[in-house]
């Protein structure tokens, strides 16, 4: 016994000896079967021969880690579901994508931008950022040096967006946003601070836009990847590519103080100010510019996808956000429980959609037209909130799925599924594609026989249900 204790103290490298000693001193070892002996040796080597592999932290490992201790913080999101979310949201690196202007000349489309509602303390955001190549600060030595070089010569802080935006969208001049930023130009440009300011949330493509219910987004998980939301380091890719705005700024920006433009001071006035006050002035201006930029951009819509993992009512979330997704864009909604998503799928059911279309495009064409315009603007018919909380024609092929990875033990002759694993929330994913419905009544076709039977029944009625071929 003492020998063993001594060997333990001796530290590294003595594990094998300890095991040999223990095995030698075990009296009943001869009574063990071959299997139990193997098990015993394995147990002992696990105890005394500590070996480990150092692997870099990544999203998968972080998920495992948090799931063990505080699963509720991340909505019990498992890696299998995380994989599904990343696939179905079609998230990918959009650094080389183009932001294009839609036909109406105001909305924008594409550019590798995803809209996110994240109540998983930033885990979903981290996973998406990983897939977009934004999560990890540039690592290799030569790379970091170039990053510094790159940021150092950046001269003008705020005025940059204007020319850049025009460049990206050559054909149409951006309406209001540009005008505003350019007016602020003359004041900010001459008083360029010594320390170059890199505008936060200023990237145009390959971005994530987070909508959060509080003043600040809860993105605690990002701190494991070198990004502190409170004090983000400008060299981290997320600094420019992660945008956040509150529900308030999106839905009623006029009530959000950070959206209201602070008073613009002339150069002379600034000259006469105390330096601390001047600093404050710039800080306020920049905050306003940031908020305005993000809010205006978000309102112009055209996101490539929408990812929702929230404990809020998903129907309300989708009502506001689905219209901001581009045609053909993907919508993925995660919830740890199935019920909210079942309700959501029901809002897009075939019958409900048929009823919605019948209601919208029923008899009075004039009235209908007006109503659709309204509906387009709000994403739903305002007076039909209860029956149609969401415009059911905006999403195609809504479906609900789940997946679970079942672990196996693989040993020669002893291969079987693990005897135990974790229960808890199953986790479900709602997926759909944003589409642009044709205005007016659309007659489906395809169910030849069924249709005949139906029309035979309903011919006298004007409101005969419109059959939609895409089954829910």
């Amino acid at each position: 016994m003492e020998e063993i204790e001594e060997l333990k103290k001796a530290g590294t490298g003595s594990g094998k000896e300890i095991i040999a000693k223990i095995m030698a001193s075990h009296q009943a070892i001869s009574e063990k079967t071959a299997f139990s002996l193997a098990k015993y040796t394995l147990r002992k080597s696990r105890k005394f021969l500590r070996r480990f592999t150092a692997l870099p932290l990544d999203v998968g490992r972080l998920t495992e880690h948090i799931l063990e201790k505080e699963a509720y913080r991340i909505m019990e999101l498992r890696e299998d579901l995380l994989g599904l979310i990343c696939s179905w949201s079609n998230v990918h690196c959009g650094a080389k994508s183009r932001v294009l202007t839609a036909e109406d000349g105001v909305s924008q489309i594409g550019g590798g931008r995803w809209l996110v509602v994240d109540d998983t303390a930033g885990l979903v955001t981290a996973a998406l950022a990983e897939k977009m190549g934004l999560l990890y600060p540039t690592e290799e030595e030569d790379d970091t040096s170039s990053e510094e070089k790159e940021t150092a010569p950046a001269p003008a802080p705020a005025p940059a967006p204007a020319p850049a935006e025009n460049d990206a969208q050559r054909d149409t001049a951006m309406p209001d946003a540009d005008a505003d930023t350019t007016t602020s130009d003359p004041s900010t440009r001459p008083r360029k601070p010594a320390r170059p300011h890199i505008p936060q949330m200023s990237a145009y493509t390959n971005t994530l836009t987070i909508l959060h219910p509080n003043n600040q987004p809860n993105l605690a998980c990002l701190k494991y990847f070198g990004y502190d939301v409170g004090q983000p380091s400008p060299s981290h890719p997320l600094y420019k590519h992660l945008k956040s705005l509150s529900w308030l700024s999106l839905l009623s920006p006029q009530d959000d103080p950070s959206y209201i433009e602070p008073e613009l001071l002339s150069a002379a006035e600034l000259e006469s100010m105390k330096s601390s006050k001047r600093g404050n002035y710039y800080k306020k201006r920049r905050r306003w510019e940031k908020t305005k930029r993000v809010v205006d951009e978000t309102k112009r819509g055209g996101f490539d996808g929408l990812v929702v993992a929230t404990s809020m009512d998903v129907k309300g979330v989708l009502r506001e956000l689905v219209p901001l997704v581009r045609g053909g864009g993907k919508v993925a909604v995660y919830h740890q429980n199935v019920e909210p998503l079942v309700e959501l799928v029901d809002c897009y059911s075939k019958e409900r959609r048929a009823a919605f279309i019948a209601k919208e495009f029923g008899t009075d064409a004039q009235q209908t037209r007006k109503r659709t315009l309204e509906a387009d603007a709000n994403g739903d018919a305002p007076d039909e909130d209860e029956d149609f909380p969401i415009n059911p024609t905006l999403l195609l092929a809504p479906s609900l799925q789940t997946a679970r990875a079942r672990q196996w033990q693989v040993l020669p002759e002893r291969t079987h599924p693990m005897m135990t694993s974790k229960g808890g929330a199953e986790g479900y994913l709602f997926t759909a594609t944003r589409v642009i419905p044709v205005e007016g009544r659309v007659e489906a076709r395809g169910h030849g026989t069924r249709k005949k039977r139906k029309t035979a029944v309903e011919t006298p009625a004007e409101t005969s249900a419109v059959e939609t071929p895409v089954e829910t």
Partner: protein, 513 residues
């Protein structure tokens, strides 16, 4: 507009000619179509996609905003080109869209007329939609599997991935999405996407330098079967993914994973969808494996253990990225394959070996309507919803039966009475008149008080249907969809840590201490 790399990666606002679009008819019924409005075709409208939901000429699909609901067109599917046969043999047309095709007489492409019914949605391709619609050549790796695999393999933009056993290419497309971060040659056109404004301001040296260093992601796809390899290559080019994917026709068991010019793909992750992955593993090492390990790995007598490395006489080049830990996943349907693979992985020094199986299911959501009001309607269960309803129905039935019986009885009595009256009639006229008056009075009263007959109930149910909102009635339920994939394959994951030499140690010490 800048040239597009691929509709998979950056679809733009509208569908474009000569690039892939997906026509979605139902959730699992999608048609991939390389849009060719001027394509050669027998139809007057040019190339047409004919479906049971209508015909969609490509000219109506090109240059549409993605996600548009496209209405079907009237296409003469029966008579093609010059032959002026009757078109009654067209499957879909005939019945619903009577002859309006008088317009199409010219040889050049006719503007398609919108049909009275039928529509589809035009959506940009994604690996998911492609997986649902691709032409099957082999077993397909479906979305739940590949999404989990790519998540576990930690494939990120800029990584290189080896895929062996490319098969139908569903995994290839998903992998491209993960590794893609641009491609050489496309910077000139689309780099100016206003990505970073300070770069725009500091035009010149900085961006150029950056570009040089960027490691572009790539998928290195190997396929043993030559026609399949060719077909995949063709698809990859058609989809505009050729800058990212390298397809090689190769027997990886014998010849390994280096490219044809023996350069290394420098892979960060490996996915093997092979019948015998353990035979390929000997090529996935950092240093040439000793003959003994090779022997041990392929100890199975049924597999020929030839040491290909010596036979080729080429210097050893590892296909792996020397600076990173390599993650591998093998995809095998049978448990025997798994045991062999795991044994080989252990011999070759792979760590964190883990085997899982993905159990995915889709749920259907619907409303289950139960109640006597559903009688005779489709989609409802017409049994009693509650005890009260059952009791009421039984009462009704009993009431009707009683009424019926009493009626019968009365009729019987009536007949009897008449018979008696007839007998009596010969003697006096009174009885007959009395009986008829009684009968006339009786019948209407009975009908009114009577519970509704089955016929009445059905009529009422039908009438009520017009005012009911079925979409919010009944109980909302969910259940697994009828078709269930209970087993796809076993997934074996493992990690090969990077080699750590004394030099690396020294370097790290200098940097961090």
């Amino acid at each position: 507009m800048a040239p597009v790399i691929s509709p998979f990666l950056d679809p733009g606002t509208h569908s474009a000619a000569h690039s892939l679009g997906i026509v979605q008819l139902r959730r699992d019924h999608l048609i991939p179509a390389v849009l060719a409005p001027n394509g050669d075709s027998d139809y007057a409208e040019g190339k047409v996609e004919n479906t049971r939901f209508g015909s969609f000429p490509h000219s109506t699909l090109v240059d549409q905003p993605w996600g548009t609901q496209v209405l079907a067109s009237v296409v003469d599917t029966g008579s093609r080109g010059k032959s002026k046969k009757r078109k009654r043999d067209g499957k879909d047309e005939g019945a619903e869209t009577p002859t309006t095709d008088a317009t199409e007489t010219k040889k050049d492409i006719v503007k398609a007329a919108t049909a009275s019914s039928g529509f589809a949605h035009l959506i940009p391709p994604t690996p998911e939609t492609w997986t649902l619609s691709l032409p099957h050549r082999t077993q397909v790796v479906y979305t739940p599997d590949y999404s989990y695999i790519l998540q576990r393999l930690r494939v990120r933009p800029g990584d290189h991935l080896i895929e062996a056993g490319a098969g139908s290419g569903s995994f290839t497309h998903a992998a491209v999405r993960c590794v893609y971060n641009g491609a050489p040659g496309m910077e000139d056109t689309s780099y100016a996407a206003a990505d970073m404004e300070e770069e725009l301001n500091a035009i010149g040296t900085v961006p150029k330098k950056r570009k040089h260093k960027t490691r572009y992601g790539g998928v290195y796809s190997f396929e043993y079967h030559e026609p399949r390899a060719k077909q995949l290559q063709h698809e990859i080019v058609e989809h505009g993914l050729d800058p990212v994917v390298t397809v090689t026709h190769r027997d990886v068991y014998g010849d390994g994973f280096n490219l044809n010019d023996n350069t290394s793909p420098e892979a960060d992750a490996v996915f093997l969808d092979l019948p015998a992955p353990w035979q390929a593993l000997k090529h996935l090492t950092r240093t040439p494996p000793s003959a003994a390990t090779v022997q041990a790995v392929s100890s199975d007598p049924s597999t020929p253990a030839e040491s290909s490395q010596q036979a080729m006489g080429k210097p050893f080049v590892s296909p792996l990225n020397p600076r990173k830990a390599i993650r591998i996943c093998t995809f095998s349907p049978c448990i025997e394959q798994v045991t062999k693979t795991v044994a080989a992985l252990r011999t070759l020094g792979w760590l964190e070996i883990d085997m899982v199986e993905i159990q995915a299911k889709r749920l259907e959501v619907r409303r289950e309507r139960v109640g006597l009001a559903e009688e005779g309607l489709r989609g409802g269960n017409a049994s009693a919803a509650t005890v009260q309803e059952a009791v009421q129905r039984l009462r009704d039935v009993e009431g009707r039966a009683a009424a019926f019986h009493s009626q019968q009885k009365e009729k019987q009595e009536d007949i009897m009475r008449r018979a008696e009256a007839r007998k009596k009639g010969r003697k006096g006229e009174n009885g007959d008149g009395e009986g008829s008056v009684k009968k006339e009075k009786k019948t209407p009263i009975g009908k009114e008080g009577l519970p509704p007959s089955k016929h009445d109930r059905l009529d009422k149910a039908k009438k009520d249907l017009e005012t009911r909102a079925l979409y919010k009635e009944g109980r909302l339920i969910h259940r697994t969809e009828p078709e269930l994939k209970t087993h796809t394959s076993y997934l074996v994951f493992a990690v090969l840590p990077r080699q750590w030499t004394a030099e690396d140690e020294e370097k790290a010490r200098k940097k961090y201490v």
